[in-house]
Symmetry: C2
Subunit: 279 residues, 2 copies
């Protein structure tokens, strides 16, 4: 399978020291056709300004990160829950304005003070259900991202791709899909089968490598393609066989990568995409 | 469900600063009927001395840790593979001599220099198959332990309980079972179903808690029962429903726990077992 550079998307977190306009400029300079944006960086620029910047550059927005964190404290915090709901509604609106292929959902960990995984998972399902009408109205696909199980307690109780697929299948395919991120799911013996089950539901394919040893902040353990242990070819083949032919986003959280000048990082992203994914 | 203190086993790694004889003495002093041993500590004492020490104390050996690390470099390292095989044969022998309920297998990560998960998993299956005759001859049950997916690259490509069950089912039930360790599997949405599927195959139930934040050395992130986020009751209920009525081993790797005098640690282990698991 050949994957061309015309499918490369740069997630702006990979060039974390750059603002949105600089990230857009980097994509143009390096002939990268799509960008994954983060809401906080969009907010810095202003939504209208961000929309104008990506349009003027001719960039496609492959994803907006992120909605979610649905597992708020119980009914006693009605205000907190309402605020979270309103924020997610706003995120869907922003994704629509940006023309993003998906709004990535990081669903949230255990409810603070609770050990009840089932409760947290039910809250996630309910909250996604509440977002679906807004997503359908605005033509946005919500992308449920399974995070690595090491983040289950504090970031996402949706901890395997199979679980994300099960959840997505409860909702209309035009409104809810799944994100396949190699960093989070590469270890799973059932990965190929779960990707196949996600046929027609994959709304984003994100790539980066699993590098050892894990850093102290386990959020930052991602590496450039080829620097770690992930065998991308079978994952890419399964994602393609499941019908996904959209952009492939390189998203790297890594303090060492961030310490490198962004222009050099983007060159590495492009080179590695060609050499590691392209074959 | 009531779990009595007569089912408590102390894994000696929990009192890492104590030698084998001291760990045995701690069990006797705190009225703990069983102990999980480590091969390196058995070797310090000598196998015959270790057998004599646990027998004299009237202790049952709930597990011997560990065999495994089956994913050696390829055929070019025939000597390395032969040495690993011989070491695992010795581990089965030691487990038999000690009367251990199981020899815990930590199966090994990716083959050094390889990204091929399938290859590593096939090597694990083949190596277990080679051990089965020795296990049956000596009456030892091998316990495949699924490790947390964050250890997939470097310690165990068997990264979920379902995978361990699939693997175990290839072999006779008297020779191969699975270890359920809460630290490694608590996050899994399919846990209850996989434990049910493991009926008659559970050879060890190990418990400790998942404590945040993860320490720099992620091997040492375990906590006393109740100090973290794991909800033990549903796991214990599923393990019991699957027919396991053996010892429940408390195994904690944690530098802070190891800094406490072992006698105090064992008191905490006992108290928490009674309060957290006992209800």
């Amino acid at each position: 399978m050949t994957i061309g550079l015309d499918r490369l998307a740069l997630n702006q977190a990979t060039v974390n020291t750059a603002g949105l306009r600089e990230a857009v400029t980097l994509c143009v300079r390096h002939d990268i056709p799509a960008i994954g944006l983060w809401r906080d960086r969009v907010a810095e620029t202003g939504l209208a300004g961000a929309v104008a910047a990506v349009r003027a550059a001719g960039l496609h927005v492959s994803s907006l990160c992120r909605g979610g964190f649905f597992t708020q404290p119980g009914p006693e915090d009605a205000a907190g829950r309402a605020a979270a709901r309103a924020d997610n509604m706003a995120a869907v609106f922003e994704a629509a304005e940006l023309g993003a292929d998906t709004l990535v959902l990081v669903c949230g960990g255990l409810v603070p003070g609770s050990r009840d995984l089932g409760l947290a998972r039910r809250m996630v399902a309910d909250a996604i259900g509440e977002l679906v009408p807004q997503a359908q109205r605005l033509g946005v696909r919500l992308g449920i991202e399974a995070l690595h199980p090491m983040f289950c307690a504090d970031r996402s109780v949706i901890a395997s791709l199979g679980e994300a697929v099960d959840l997505a299948l409860n909702f209309p395919a035009d409104a809810v899909g799944v994100v396949v991120d190699t960093y989070h799911v590469w270890w799973d013996a059932r990965l190929a089968a779960e990707i196949a089950r996600a046929a027609g539901r994959i709304v984003s394919y994100q790539v980066c490598d699993w590098v050892l040893p894990l850093p102290t902040d386990t959020l930052l353990g991602r590496g450039h393609l080829g620097d770690g242990v992930i065998d991308f070819a079978p994952v890419s083949a399964a994602v393609a066989a499941a019908g996904y032919d959209g952009y492939i986003e390189v998203e790297i959280f890594n303090a060492d990568v961030w310490a490198v000048p962004p222009d050099q990082t983007v060159r590495t992203v492009r080179d590695r995409f060609a050499t590691v994914l392209g074959h």
